[in-house]
């Protein structure tokens, strides 16, 4: 039989490659569409190409979510195997898909199983992209070391000595402050992250983007960066994370807590601590002690306090607050540990680029998974951000 959907993915002909999925699915009967799904499933398993695998996964997601349930012959009701559901919750998508497939083969297609398969394919698509991000970020020079560190004794970062000089007046340590603008997209190819858009439509992977400070007319004297982050040494061997605008704070004493992003509202601060190398990503699951790590980075008996504050921006503002906050926090942590040369003033170009890469890592660690064009706030002024085609040897 023809493998129409696989052909859409693999063809060098742009006219065919850009065919809408709907145009094919509408013309196929239920058995034909199921056969196409089987072909796509085989294809995505054997393909070594990231674009092909991801597109096949999102085709499968869309077919199961939007097309199969509408075909005559598909049962409305059905049972989702509990074992597969458990795998889905544990993000073991391949295992879940295998079980749902088995159920579909045994009992025939149904809305329920298609819905479960759609969820699993969707999750696996994003997981595939996240793995690729991790691989790409990991291969950037300046980041590789963070993935090698598996023990506190191996930690080469040290807090800058200026931050350890406490005040003779009240014993407090100096506070390092970072202020970052947000970004606004003036023109955009579509409301989609460049990473995904660029895979299908490379020439469209461009955005005109400006950094903006904010103020309320009549109230404030002048606009100022709406994102603020603060860091200081504290006299307790803990990692204290605080979000002023979310009214959330936590004292972390164990390493696994830092890697638990869903536990509280402080996932971005945790991601920043990891992506800046203070708690290197390679130490996850090592069963080592956070106190020993802080001893190495700061000094015995002392810890770090990291505070974020977003001033008066409502949720869903489309100003990329989360990515720029992450960038701000990462820049702050890099300054505090000497990874950025200066404690004050603008970052150098190579430092900004590292902040960008690490902010993307942080986004994917924290689970939001966006941010490819969003770190524009880290660069002042207006800029055109463009994707470039991958070259031989790129990760």
């Amino acid at each position: 039989m023809r493998k129409q959907l696989v052909e859409i993915i693999t063809t060098p002909d742009p006219a065919l490659r850009n065919s809408p999925l709907e145009s094919i699915c509408q013309l196929l009967s239920l058995p034909e569409l199921l056969a196409e799904c089987n072909e796509l499933e085989r294809f995505r398993r054997r393909s070594g190409n990231l674009y092909e695998r991801v597109r096949a996964l999102f085709f499968l997601y869309a077919i199961h979510r939007f097309h199969l349930p509408l075909k005559p012959g598909s049962a409305g009701k059905g049972l989702v195997p509990f074992e597969g559901y458990e795998h889905l919750l544990q993000r073991r998508f391949e295992e879940a898909i295998a079980i749902f497939f088995e159920a579909q083969s045994a009992n025939g297609p149904s809305d329920a199983v298609s819905s479960a398969l759609a969820a699993a394919y969707y999750g696996l698509g994003f997981q595939t992209l996240a793995d690729q991000v991790r691989r790409s970020v990991r291969s950037v020079r300046g980041n590789q070391w963070m993935f090698r560190i598996g023990h506190p004794f191996d930690q080469p970062l040290r807090i800058r000595p200026e931050l350890l000089q406490h005040s003779e007046l009240d014993g407090s340590f100096p506070i390092l402050r970072e202020a970052t603008p947000v970004r606004m997209d003036l023109s955009h190819s579509a409301w989609s992250d460049i990473f995904f858009l660029g895979m299908d439509f490379p020439e469209g992977a461009r955005v005109l983007n400006i950094s903006i400070d904010l103020c309320i007319k009549g109230r404030d004297k002048e606009p100022r960066p709406p994102i603020e982050a603060y860091l200081r040494v504290i006299d307790e061997p803990v990692l204290r994370l605080t979000s002023v605008d979310l009214s959330a704070t936590v004292d972390i004493t164990e390493l696994p807590e830092i890697f638990d992003f869903a536990k509280d509202y402080l996932g971005l601060l945790k991601a920043a601590v990891i992506a800046s190398g203070i708690v290197p990503p390679g130490i996850e699951g090592s069963r080592q002690s956070l106190v020993a790590l802080l001893e190495r980075v700061v000094v015995p008996g002392q810890g770090l306090e990291l505070v974020s504050n977003v001033n008066n921006i409502p949720k869903g503002s489309r100003l990329a607050v989360s990515t720029n906050l992450l960038g701000s926090l990462i820049a702050l942590c890099m300054r505090a540990t000497g990874q950025a040369k200066s404690l004050t003033g603008p970052l150098r170009e190579e430092e900004r680029r590292l902040v960008l890469v690490r902010a993307i890592l942080g986004e994917w660690l924290g689970g939001s998974g966006g941010g490819w064009q969003d770190s524009g706030g880290v660069w002042p002024g207006a800029k055109l951000i463009e994707g470039v085609l991958a070259e031989e040897g790129d990760p």
């Binding site: 020079r141 300046g142 980041n143 070391w145 191996d154 930690q155 190398g277 990874q339 590292l354």
Partner: protein, 280 residues
Amino acid sequence: MKIKKAVITAAGRNQNRLPLQSLVDRDGIQKSALQIIIEEVVSTGADNICVVICPGDQESYAPAAGAWAKQLHFVEQPAPLGYGHALYCAREFVGSEPFLHLVSDHLYVSREKRRCAQQLVETAAAEDCAVSAVQATRESQLPYYGTVGGKGVPNRPNLYLIERVLEKPTPTAAEQHLIVPGLRAGHYLCFFGMHVLTPTIMEVLHDTISASGTSLNVSLSVALVKLAERERYLAFQISGRRYNIGVKFGLLNAQLALALEGQDREEVLAQMVELLAQRH
């Protein structure tokens, strides 16, 4: 190139007591760390030695040097203006000659018959240029050492042409600028605390100090980068180990390394085994 002079810097305000610490050398004799360092220097034939010290330290350093005291020329660094400035204080002593430079908080154990300083001086003489001794070092130790980046000299397995020097770099900077082909992942060429330098370094330091005005920290690393721009400057991977006695357990490590290389090896091993047995 003939090396007849040596400069030992010992003016670090927090570390000026380290050379006065007592250790038992390979030959089983108790000596100060300063004496052991001087013996390393003298083994190269450079017996005209200058020690840069903090003001007022000569009184304690002269006795610690033992029989070598009469040969030493002490120069004081009047204010703590950095490592580069300390070396610059020896400019009149150095004059227009190349010289061997050692720090005072490192001790050495060679893996061959020639001592580490001998290996370095012979290499510098053969190459007729400035050479810094280096050791491939794990990235976890980067906060303690100056680190160089560069490329291998063709057909000379342990020699590298230095292109960049960073003082105590972060792992991020090291990975971006200091990776040397041929080293294991996460390893960098870090200073060994031992250099053969040409008088050009004093000119570079003079320019740096004149330009920096009242700067509190004149870095030797920055001056070494400029030296590399002006003339051929190599790194030599020594066959030996350095022991930094200024870090936690550094003195203990150095003592154990010296003892295990010397005539008291069996006795020290027996004592270590006894300690371990008592512990468990």
